[in-house]
C-alpha cells in the first residue's frame, strides 16, 4: 500500500526541515472532499486515473529486474498527488520518489521531487497518466492495460519499462475498501496489479542494459486519515515463484503492538484474494549510519497458506541493507527495499519489496 | 734565491688616446723577491701594475703569471687568476665599508672557496699577526688609516697569493704608520715567500725591497737601477 510517504505530507508539524512549513501544507481540508465508502464500484481503465475529489492518491510501483547476464536490480517509482489547503486556498502538489538498487555492485541510489500541479507535474483524470519532471507513468489506450514507466535517479540511472499485467486488478480490503485504523473516515480504495511482467531498458553508470522481471503496482485513493496512536507501519509485498502473491501491512502502536486494522492478504494464481491472520517477528536489525534509525532487517512472517491449509513461515531478507531513503523534500526517512523470500527450509521461494516507517523517530500520525 | 719567475712582462706597450704610456717594458719578479717600482707621476707605474695584474691589457707584448700567458685569458679567467694568485694593496686602503675587519680579510678566502673553519683560523692568525685581532668586529670607518692599511695587508696575503701588487701603500700614511706597514709587509712576504711588486715614491718603502726598477716616460730607466742583477 505504501502510503507512508504520502501521509507524512499531511502532517506538517512532523516535518523537521522547513519546506513544508513554507508551503503550509496543513491538513485543514474543508468538508467538501470525498471519503472512501464501503462497497465501491470501479470502472476501468478510467479509475486507474486520478480522482481529484479525494485529497490524496498515489501510484506506487516496485519491481525486480534481471539483465541479460542475469545480474539483479530493484527499482521503486512512486507518484503521489496531494491537495493542501491553507485558508481559502487549495493547492495540488505532486511528489515522486525514485530508487534503483544494483545488487551486484551493492549500490542503492534514490531521488525525490516535489512540484506544484501544473506544467511540470500532473495526473490525468479518466486514465492513468501522471508525470513529475522527467518521470512519467502512462497506461496505453484500452483495451491494452500495458503501462509505460519512465524514471531514473538524477543523471546516475534511468529506466524505460513496459509493465504488462499478468492478472486482473486486485481489490484489497473489502472489494477495494481498505480500513486504515479506527474512525469512519480512516480508509482508502486499494487497487493493485500484483504481477506485472516487466521488460525494457535500464541505464546505470553509462551502461545500457536490456532488463526483464516482475513488478507490483499499488494505486490508492485516500481520505488521508489514519487512526490515532500509530507511530509507523511495516508493509511487504511478496511475489512467489509459484505464481501467487501476498500483501501485508501492519500499523504499529507506540507499544509495538499491531493495530487491528493491520492485514495480510493472499492472491492466488487467478487473482482471487484471501485474508489470513499473521505474526511478524524481526530476526535481526540494521542501524542506518546516516539517520541512526534502527530498522528490522530479516523478518520472519508466519501465517496460514490457504492452498495447503497449513501454517507457513517465511523469512524476508533484504538484498542490501542500505536501502534507506534518508533525505528529500519533506525530510522523513524510511526504508523501502528489495528482498528475497525463503521458506522454513531456507529455499528461495520468491521476491519481495518491504517498507518500514517510523524507525528513525515516531511519526506523529494524528489526523486532525 | 732560487728563482722561478712569478710574473714576467715581455716588451709591453700601452697607449691611451694615442698617447704612449708604456713603451717596450720588460720586467720579471721571482719567487720571494721584493721589487720596488719607482718613477715620477705619469711615468706609467700604475698602468704597468694594472697590466701585470690583468686589470688592463697591453697593446703589445706579453705577460706571464706563473708561466701562464695572460694575453690569452678571458675576463673571467683573469678574474679567477687574480682572485687566487694575486693580492693587492691600494694607496687608499679600499676596504669594503659595510664589511667588518674580519669579513674584509675573509673575503678573498671566500672567493677561492676555502671552508668556513679554515677561513676563520687563517683570518684569526693573520689578524693577530698584524695586531688587530681585538678589533675584528670593527668596521673600516671606525679605524685609523694605519690600521686600515694593516688590514689591507692582511687581506692581500690571507689567500696565500704568489704575488702581491702594492700601489703606494704608504702614500696616505704618516711616517710612523708607514714604517709599521712596511715592516709588516717585509716580514710577511719573507715568512710566506711571496713575491712583491711595490709601486712607491718613497725611499723608505723602496728600502725593504731587494731591488728597485725605475720607470721614466714609459720606459725602464736602466741607468738608475740599484742592483746589478737585473733580469730583463
Amino acid at each position: 500500500m505504501s502510503f507512508a510517504v504520502a501521509i507524512r505530507f499531511v502532517f506538517r508539524r512532523a516535518v523537521a526541515a522547513g519546506l513544508l512549513s513554507v508551503v503550509g501544507l496543513a491538513l485543514q481540508l474543508r468538508g467538501d472532499f470525498r471519503v472512501p465508502q464501503p462497497n465501491p464500484e470501479f470502472h476501468f481503465p478510467a479509475d486507474h486515473g486520478s480522482h481529484p475529489d479525494f485529497p490524496l492518491e498515489w501510484w506506487y510501483v516496485t519491481g525486480h529486474l534481471y539483465d541479460e547476464r542475469n545480474e539483479r536490480f530493484g527499482f521503486q517509482a512512486t507518484f503521489f498527488r496531494q491537495v493542501s489547503e491553507d485558508g481559502s486556498e487549495r493547492e495540488t502538489l505532486h511528489l515522486a520518489h525514485m530508487a534503483v538498487l544494483d545488487v551486484s555492485r551493492k549500490n542503492f541510489i534514490y531521488q525525490t521531487r516535489l512540484n506544484r500541479d501544473g506544467w511540470d507535474a500532473a495526473s490525468a483524470v479518466g486514465k492513468l497518466s501522471a508525470h513529475n519532471g522527467n518521470w512519467s507513468i502512462v497506461m496505453e489506450k484500452a483495451p491494452s492495460e500495458r503501462i509505460d514507466l519512465i524514471g531514473g535517479v538524477r543523471s546516475e540511472a534511468s529506466f524505460a519499462l513496459k509493465l504488462n499485467p499478468k492478472k486482473p486488478v486486485v481489490l484489497f480490503g473489502d472489494k477495494g475498501y481498505s480500513r486504515k485504523g479506527e474512525g469512519a473516515d480512516a480508509a482508502s480504495y486499494y487497487l493493485t496489479f500484483s504481477r506485472l511482467e516487466t521488460s525494457g531498458t535500464l541505464r546505470i553508470r553509462g551502461e545500457d542494459m536490456k532488463v526483464h522481471g516482475t513488478s507490483w503496482m499499488d494505486h490508492e485513493i485516500s481520505s488521508s486519515r489514519l487512526g490515532e496512536g500509530l507511530i509507523g507501519w511495516d508493509w511487504v509485498c511478496i511475489q512467489f515463484l509459484d505464481g501467487r502473491e501476498l500483501m501485508m501491512y501492519r500499523l504499529r502502536h507506540a507499544d509495538g503492538s499491531s493495530d487491528p486494522a493491520s492485514m495480510l492478504t493472499w492472491v492466488d494464481a487467478t487473482g482471487a484474494t484471501r485474508k489470513e491472520s499473521f505474526a511478524w517477528r524481526p530476526l535481526s536489525t540494521w542501524t542506518s549510519v546516516s539517520t541512526g534509525g534502527r530498522y528490522p532487517s530479516t523478518v520472519e512472517l508466519s501465517t496460514r497458506d490457504p492452498q495447503s491449509g497449513g501454517a507457513v513461515k517465511f523469512s524476508i531478507e533484504p538484498l542490501l541493507l542500505e536501502q534507506e531513503l534518508a533525505a528529500g523534500p519533506g525530510g522523513i526517512a524510511y526504508w523501502e527495499g528489495a528482498c528475497r523470500v525463503r521458506d522454513a527450509s531456507g529455499k528461495e521461494i520468491g521476491s519481495a519489496y518491504m517498507e518500514l516507517t517510523g524507525y528513525v523517530k515516531p511519526l506523529k500520525l494524528t489526523a486532525k | 734565491m732560487a728563482s722561478a719567475p712569478v710574473i714576467e712582462a715581455r716588451a709591453l706597450s700601452r697607449a691611451y688616446a694615442e698617447q704612449p704610456v708604456l713603451i717596450d717594458v720588460s720586467l720579471r719578479v721571482n719567487e720571494g723577491e721584493r721589487v720596488a717600482l719607482m718613477g715620477p707621476s705619469g711615468s706609467g707605474k700604475t698602468t704597468l701594475l694594472n697590466c701585470l695584474g690583468g686589470v688592463d691589457r697591453p697593446d703589445r707584448g706579453e705577460v706571464f703569471l706563473l708561466g701562464r700567458r695572460l694575453n690569452d685569458l678571458t675576463g673571467d679567467a683573469l678574474a679567477e687568476l687574480r682572485r687566487s694568485r694575486i693580492g693587492t694593496i691600494f694607496q687608499f686602503f679600499h676596504l669594503l665599508p659595510t664589511l667588518t675587519i674580519f669579513e674584509n680579510v675573509e673575503l678573498p678566502l671566500q672567493l677561492v672557496g676555502v671552508s668556513a673553519t679554515e677561513r676563520s683560523a687563517r683570518v684569526t692568525t693573520l689578524l693577530e699577526r698584524v695586531g688587530l685581532l681585538s678589533r675584528k668586529q670593527a668596521f673600516p670607518g671606525e679605524m685609523s688609516g694605519g690600521e686600515q692599511q694593516r688590514v689591507a695587508v692582511a687581506r692581500a696575503l690571507v689567500h696565500h697569493p704568489s704575488l702581491i701588487l702594492a700601489d703606494e701603500p704608504t702614500g696616505n700614511l704618516d711616517t710612523a704608520n708607514g714604517a709599521s706597514v712596511l715592516q709588516l709587509l717585509r716580514e710577511l712576504t719573507d715568512e710566506t715567500h711571496t713575491a712583491l711588486l711595490l709601486v712607491t715614491h718613497s725611499a723608505e718603502a723602496a728600502a725593504i725591497c731587494h731591488r728597485t726598477v725605475f720607470l721614466r716616460d714609459g720606459r725602464i730607466d736602466h741607468a738608475s737601477e740599484d742592483s746589478p742583477a737585473v733580469t730583463v
Partner: protein
C-alpha cells in the same frame, strides 16, 4: 656552484643589506612609495573583482549552479515555454527554473533597492536533491517560523539587516507593497551568502506584484548530477537552442558573468590603467634609486672587481637587490591594496550600480592569486627598472683603473633625443590602429593604450634631454645670485637621475592633466547634451527603474498624469532590453512625431528628411554607441527581435547619447507597444502649463504616486552630473597619488645627488656659502626639474587628452566628445607641482648642506 651561491648570498648580505641598513630612511621612503604603487594597483584590481563577484554570485545564489540560462531576445518569455521545454527534453534529467525579477525600492530608507527574485520555491528545493551526490545528506530549503503560508512572504539574505517577521514597505511597479520577512535565504555549502539586497519570493507572487503574470524574465536549467551529466548537458543545450531559435538565447552562467565583465570592461580598464600611474612613476623611482646607488657605491664595486669578483656576479647582486626590493614592495603593496580595496570597493560598486547593474559588493578579499600577482608585479617592475643600473654596475672596472679613467655613467643626449622622438612617432602609428574586438561587443582600444605608453615614455625622454636648456633659464632668472649660478652649473651636466626625475614627473603630470582634459571634455559634452535633450518640466519614472532594468508605469497612471490640471502636454517613452547579435541593448519607443521629442536629438548622422515623413513601422534612429557597437550606420537595416517576431527596420539617423554604452535603438512608441503587446510605459516627461509651480506639482505627485520618482528638470540635470562626477571621483585620487609619488622621487633624486656632492658641498661651505644659499641652490635645481617636467607634461597631456577623447574613449564607449581644455585645473596642477617641488627641494637642500664631507670615499 653551491659554494658560489653561498658566497653571493654572503656578499648580498654584507654589502647590499648593510647599505640599506645604513640608509634606512631613504630605503624605507622608496619602499613605501613603491609599495604604494603596487598597492594602488592591487586595490583597484581587488575592488573591481569584488564588485563583479557580487554580481556573479547573485545569479548563482539560489541554484547553486545553473547549467544553462535562457534569456528572451526581447521582452519576457511566456510561462508556457517551460512546458514546451519539458516536452522537448523528454526524460532527460534537467530541472527548469522559471525566474521573474523586479527591483523594489524600499520606502522610508536610503538603502539600496531590494532585488526581488521570483522562483517557484518547490522547484528550488528540488535542486538541492537534484545536485546531491549519492550518500550526501545535506539538504537545505527555505525555512519559515511563521505558521501559515502567505503571499506577502519574502526570504532575505542573511547579510541583510532585516529580522524575521519584519514588515518591509517597498515600491513595486508604481504601487507600494508591504512584504513580510519569513526567513533567510539558505546558503549552500561552499557558496557565499546571497547579496544583502536580494530577496526571494514565490514565483507567482512576484509575477502578480510586478504585473508579469504568465511571464518569465528567464529560465535557468539545472542538469541533475551523475554519470551522464555531461552528455545530458550537451543534449539539453542543443534542444533548448533549437527550440528557442528566434525567441531566446541559451547561455552558460559563465557567459552571464562574462557579459557583466565585458559590460564594465572599459570602465574597469580605465581605472586599472590609471592605477598604473603610480606604479609607472614607481618604476622611474626604482631606476633612479638604483642608478644613484650604483654611482655612490662604485668604489665598492671596483674593490670587489679588483678582488676578483666577476662582472656577472656584480650584475646578479644588483638585480637581486632590485628583486628583493620589489618583493618587499609587492608584499607590503598587497597589504596596502587590500586595505585600500575595502574603501574603493564601495566606490566601484556604487559606480557599477549607477552605470550598469546592481551589485552589492561590500568588501574585497585578497586571495593567494591576487597576492602573487601583486608580488609578481613588484618584482617584475623592479627587475625591469633595475636591469639597466645593474648592467652599468657590472661594467664598473676594477679599483686599480677606477681613478685613472674617471669612469662615469654618462649617456649620450643626442641618442636619447632620437630614441624619444622615435617612441613618439611609433605612438602616432599605434593611435591609428583600429580597436580590438574580442567577443561580446567589446571594443578594446589596444592601439590607443599602446600609443599612450609610447608617448609617455617618449615625451619623458625628450623632455629630460632638454634639461640642460633650463640651465640657461635658471641663470636668466636667478643668474646673478650665486646659488642660481651653482644650480645652473649642475643642470648643464645633469645626471641620469636628474633626467629620470624629469621623466617621472612628465609621466605623472601628463597622465593627470590628460585625464583632466578628458573629464572636462566629457562634462562639457554631457552638459550640452542635457541642455538639448532635457526640455520638459517634470520627469517621472518608476523607483525600480535602473539603467539595466526598466520598470513599467501603468497606462492608468499615465492617464491620471495627463489629466492633471497643471499639465500642458506629456510625452511618454517605453524602454525595453533586447538582444541583438547576442548582445544586450536598449530598444526605446519614443513619440517620434512629437516636436519636443524631435528637438531633443543631437544628430551625428542627420536624417535625410523630416522625422514626420519616416514610416513608423520600418524606421529607427540609433544612438552613437549602438551604431559603433553593432557597426550599423544610416541606411543600414537592423532586425529587432519582438514577441511578434523579428522586425526589420532601417536606420534613418544616428544621434549622440551618453546615457548608456549599450546603445539605444529608437522606434516609434506606438509601434513598439504593438510589437510587445503592452500599453504600459517606462518614462513620462511633462510640460506644465504656464504659471504652474513645478515644485508644488512634484510634491503633489510624489505623494499621489509613491512608486514613482518625480524629477524637476534642474534636479534631473544635477542628478546626471552627479552620477558623472561620482564615476570619476576615484580617478582624482589615483592622479594625486601619481603626482605625490613623482614629487617624492624628485626629493629622493636631489637627496642622492647631494650625497654624492658632499665633497663639493664642503668646498662650497669653505668658500663661504651659507646653509640657506646651499638650500636655495638645491631649490633652483628642483624647480628647474619640475618646470621642465611641467612643460613636457602639459604637452604630453594635450596629446594624451586627444588620444583619450578621440581614440580610447571613442573606441571603448562609442561616444564623440568635444575637446575642452580645463585651463584652471591645468594651471593649478602646474603651479602646485612647481611650488611643492620648490619647497621639497629647499628642504632637501638644507638637509644636504648639513652633510659631513666623507673624503675617504
Amino acid at each position: 656552484m653551491s659554494g658560489h651561491a653561498a658566497l653571493k648570498a654572503s656578499l648580498f648580505w654584507r654589502t647590499t643589506i648593510r647599505h640599506w641598513r645604513t640608509g634606512i630612511g631613504q630605503f624605507l621612503l622608496m619602499l613605501g612609495l613603491l609599495s604604494l604603487g603596487v598597492g594602488v594597483f592591487v586595490s583597484v584590481r581587488l575592488a573591481n573583482r569584488a564588485a563583479l563577484a557580487s554580481f556573479s554570485n547573485f545569479a548563482d545564489t539560489l541554484t547553486g549552479q545553473s547549467d544553462w540560462i535562457l534569456q528572451p531576445l526581447a521582452g519576457t518569455l511566456p510561462a508556457s515555454a517551460l512546458g514546451e521545454l519539458r516536452a522537448a527534453l523528454g526524460s532527460r534529467p534537467a530541472d527548469l527554473v522559471g525566474v521573474v525579477e523586479t527591483s523594489a525600492p524600499l520606502n522610508n530608507s536610503k538603502e539600496q533597492n531590494l532585488h526581488l527574485l521570483g522562483v517557484d520555491l518547490f522547484v528550488v528545493t528540488n535542486l538541492a536533491e537534484a545536485r546531491r551526490k549519492p550518500g550526501a545528506q545535506d539538504q537545505r530549503s527555505f525555512e519559515s517560523d511563521t505558521a501559515d503560508f502567505a503571499h506577502d512572504q519574502i526570504w532575505v539574505s542573511p547579510l541583510s539587516r532585516f529580522a524575521k517577521g519584519q514588515a518591509v514597505s517597498a515600491s513595486i511597479g508604481d504601487r507600494t507593497e508591504t512584504l513580510r520577512v519569513a526567513g533567510f535565504i539558505p546558503t549552500l555549502p561552499g557558496q557565499t551568502p546571497a547579496p544583502a539586497n536580494l530577496a526571494v519570493m514565490d514565483l507567482m507572487d512576484v509575477q502578480r506584484l510586478s504585473g508579469k503574470s504568465g511571464q518569465l524574465d528567464r529560465i535557468e536549467i539545472v542538469i541533475e548530477g551523475g554519470h551522464d551529466e555531461d552528455a545530458v548537458r550537451r543534449e539539453v543545450n542543443e534542444i533548448a537552442t533549437r527550440l528557442g531559435a528566434g525567441r531566446w538565447t541559451v547561455e552558460a552562467p559563465a557567459h552571464g558573468r562574462e557579459s557583466a565583465n565585458t559590460m564594465t570592461a572599459a570602465f574597469r580598464l580605465n581605472l586599472t590603467v590609471l592605477s598604473l600611474i603610480a606604479l609607472l612613476v614607481g618604476l622611474y623611482l626604482i631606476f633612479q634609486t638604483l642608478d644613484g646607488a650604483v654611482v655612490r657605491r662604485r668604489t665598492e664595486i671596483a674593490i670587489l672587481r679588483a678582488l676578483g669578483v666577476p662582472a656577472g656576479w656584480i650584475q646578479q647582486l644588483w638585480l637581486a637587490e632590485a628583486a628583493v626590493l620589489g618583493l618587499l614592495a609587492g608584499i607590503i603593496g598587497a597589504g596596502l591594496g587590500w586595505i585600500g580595496a575595502q574603501g574603493s570597493v564601495q566606490f566601484i560598486g556604487r559606480s557599477i550600480n549607477t552605470l550598469y547593474f546592481e551589485t552589492s559588493a561590500r568588501s574585497a578579499t585578497l586571495d593567494f592569486r591576487e597576492a602573487v600577482i601583486a608580488i609578481g608585479l613588484g618584482v617584475a617592475s623592479s627587475l625591469f627598472a633595475g636591469w639597466y643600473p645593474a648592467r652599468i654596475a657590472a661594467k664598473t672596472p676594477p679599483a686599480q683603473s677606477l681613478a685613472r679613467h674617471a669612469w662615469s655613467g654618462s649617456r649620450q643626449h643626442l641618442r636619447n633625443a632620437i630614441i624619444g622622438a622615435a617612441l613618439i612617432g611609433l605612438g602616432v602609428v599605434a593611435s591609428w590602429i583600429p580597436p580590438y574586438r574580442p567577443v561580446g561587443g567589446v571594443r578594446f582600444p589596444l592601439g590607443g593604450y599602446a600609443a599612450a605608453f609610447l608617448w609617455i615614455f617618449g615625451v619623458g625622454v625628450v623632455t629630460a634631454t632638454a634639461l640642460p636648456l633650463w640651465a640657461w633659464l635658471v641663470r636668466g632668472l636667478g643668474g646673478r645670485s650665486v646659488p642660481g649660478r651653482v644650480a645652473s652649473s649642475y643642470l648643464r651636466f645633469p645626471t641620469t637621475r636628474h633626467r629620470f626625475s624629469v621623466a617621472a614627473l612628465v609621466c605623472a603630470i601628463g597622465m593627470a592633466a590628460g585625464m583632466a582634459i578628458l573629464i572636462a571634455s566629457f562634462e562639457g559634452s554631457i552638459r550640452g547634451w542635457i541642455q538639448q535633450s532635457l526640455q520638459s518640466d517634470l520627469y517621472l519614472t518608476s523607483k525600480a527603474t535602473t539603467t539595466a532594468h526598466f520598470s513599467p508605469i501603468d497606462r492608468s497612471t499615465v492617464d491620471r498624469i495627463a489629466a492633471d490640471p497643471a499639465v500642458a502636454s506629456i510625452a511618454t517613452r517605453v524602454y525595453q532590453t533586447i538582444v541583438i547579435d547576442g548582445l544586450s541593448t536598449t530598444l526605446g519607443g519614443l513619440e517620434l512625431k512629437n516636436p519636443t521629442v524631435q528637438a531633443s536629438f543631437r544628430w551625428l548622422e542627420k536624417p535625410r528628411k523630416a522625422l514626420d515623413s519616416y514610416d513608423a513601422a520600418t524606421s529607427a534612429f540609433v544612438s552613437e554607441s549602438f551604431s559603433d557597437r553593432f557597426r550599423k550606420y544610416r541606411g543600414d537595416e537592423v532586425s529587432v527581435p519582438t514577441p511578434s517576431g523579428l522586425k526589420r527596420v532601417t536606420i534613418g539617423g544616428v544621434y549622440s547619447d551618453y546615457a548608456s554604452e549599450r546603445g539605444t535603438i529608437a522606434i516609434d512608441e506606438a509601434t513598439v507597444q504593438t510589437w510587445f503587446k503592452r500599453d504600459s510605459v517606462t518614462h513620462i516627461a511633462t510640460i506644465l502649463k504656464p504659471g504652474a509651480d513645478a515644485t508644488a506639482v512634484r510634491l503633489r505627485w510624489a505623494e499621489a504616486f509613491p512608486g514613482l520618482i518625480v524629477y524637476e528638470n534642474a534636479s534631473l540635470r544635477g542628478q546626471i552630473l552627479e552620477v558623472f562626477r561620482q564615476t570619476f571621483s576615484l580617478t582624482y585620487a589615483l592622479e594625486v597619488i601619481g603626482v605625490v609619488v613623482a614629487i617624492s622621487s624628485l626629493a629622493i633624486t636631489l637627496a642622492s645627488v647631494l650625497m654624492e656632492r658632499r665633497d663639493q658641498l664642503t668646498t662650497l661651505r669653505a668658500l663661504g656659502f651659507s646653509r640657506r644659499e646651499l638650500a636655495l641652490s638645491a631649490c633652483g635645481e628642483g624647480v628647474a626639474i619640475a618646470g621642465c617636467a611641467v612643460v613636457g607634461g602639459l604637452l604630453l597631456s594635450l596629446a594624451l587628452g586627444w588620444l583619450l577623447i578621440h581614440v580610447i574613449n571613442k573606441q571603448s564607449f562609442g561616444w564623440t566628445l568635444g575637446f575642452e581644455l580645463p585651463a584652471a585645473p591645468l594651471v593649478g596642477l602646474a603651479v602646485s607641482t612647481v611650488f611643492v617641488s620648490a619647497i621639497v627641494s629647499y628642504a632637501v637642500g638644507r638637509w644636504g648642506a648639513g652633510l659631513r664631507a666623507d673624503r675617504e670615499e
